[in-house]
Amino acid sequence: MGYTKEYDVRLSNESVINALRSDDPMLRKEAEENTSDYLRLRLREDGFTRRFFNPATVTPADLDRQVDTQKPVIVKDMEPNSAGAYSLPFNTTPMDNYLVAPRYRVMFDRIESRRYYADVNNLLTYEMDIRQIMNDFILKDIMAEEDRKFMLVVETIVGTVNTPNPLLGSCQYINAGALNRQSISHAMKGLPSTNRHLNPAKALVNNILIWDVVGLPREEIGGNLAEELFVDGFAERTIMGLPWAITIKTDLVADKDVYMFAEPKFLGDFMILDDVTLSSKTEDYMLSFFAYECVGGTIMNAAAVCKVSFTDSQKDWRTGL
């Protein structure tokens, strides 16, 4: 690296640090947005959880109060269910049914990064871009935690492989056999097979499985898509009319698995009470910063999620056999 570039980066770092140390909120914001050249060790990505919802920003006025706790919570109504209609002979009155509908609570907690600190003079000796560390790493760490918690709930809901859920009259997690055109179409039947008959609106796979899709022959996935995937690679792809979100978080989404989600209005909630905030503070020559957010999310409709593993022999969604 040439001296001039190095010098420029150091100057940039110095200006960022000076801005972070400023009491002027505009300067601090600029620093947080302004932060080149350094060795990348791993690829990081934004979170995928929010892609499956319509995230809503809520305000304190939206919160519901509880007698026994001061924790923030929002109470929402859930669709009621009707008892059905029936045939009767004449001169008979209807049976009575009291009108009631379930409710549920959206609960919040905080996700935060570690608080990083450094002597500002030590930061001056770095040649890499401070903003990348702050924005990319810390914020993506927070998104990764969102994803981890989301997938914990998803895994709880889909339950044991090839085991029907009596509530829904269908499995929510099955083996679908090896990946091919037929097994992908079989996977698409997961949500419609439940007694709530939802349709998949988006799928989630990792960046390994998608190469198996790329490897499918032209006659398996259609000529245009095969060629497009081969030439352009992928980020989010529409396969069989369904957008497939692709993640690199192979610790959360295994190589042979695909998850399918119904539309957000059937799925649940993603509420943002405090959106991701980068907090920085300087005491004399010590700089510290961390990021935090306060969000609440739910998957309140068990029928809005299913999982398929492209392994073993193909099983029936309703029986698991």
Binding site: T69, P72, V73, M107, R110, K149, F150, L152, V153, G296
Partner: protein
């Protein structure tokens, strides 16, 4: 007949850090609780061998002595646990006994407490509460605190015990 129900309130179980390091720098610790564990706010708790928070603080074994901590949330507070289907919760936090705190907690065994009484973690039906030591330090009981002021009835009518947190492991 007038109402007879007494709903639980947010001050039924409490931990107040009366003195200690500044809030943003104090020594606290986060961990998931063991499944099915009952830990109230203010309860003495510790880590089991799986790294989960459990009520009480056992004497442990040679060269493995659980560190006493005091719960900041109750196990069923919404930020520590949540309704099925919610993403939130799963982790509790507690101040660590060696962190230099004077605390006031509702979670103690009723009795007479005098300044400088050594406190240990109760067991059995009182697990999660602190009680007076019956033995010298470094013997058969883990010491988790030393009484500073003693008991008082707080502003919400709840009996509380005020003490300095500490950790003197048992040697038994």
């Amino acid at each position: 007949m007038p109402g007879s129900l007494t709903p639980s309130q947010m001050f039924d179980h409490s931990l107040v850090v009366v003195k200690g390091p500044s809030l943003m720098n104090r020594l606290d610790f986060n961990a998931p609780p063991r499944s099915g564990e009952l830990i109230n706010q203010g309860s003495v708790c510790s880590l089991n061998s799986s790294g989960q928070l459990v009520a009480g603080c056992s004497v442990g074994a040679t060269a493995n002595r659980p560190m006493p901590m005091f719960a900041i949330q109750g196990i069923n507070d919404f930020d520590a646990n949540s309704d099925i289907g919610n993403f939130s919760g799963g982790v509790m936090s507690a101040v660590v006994a060696t962190g230099g705190f004077e605390i006031e907690t509702t979670e103690f065994v009723a009795g007479v407490y005098n300044p400088n009484d050594m406190l240990t973690a109760a067991t059995g039906s009182n697990i999660g509460k602190v009680t007076i030591c019956t033995d010298s330090p470094y013997q058969n009981e883990v010491v988790v605190g030393c009484v500073s002021v003693g008991t008082r009835t707080n502003e919400y009518g709840k009996s509380t015990l005020r003490f300095w947190t500490m950790f003197l492991p048992a040697t038994a």
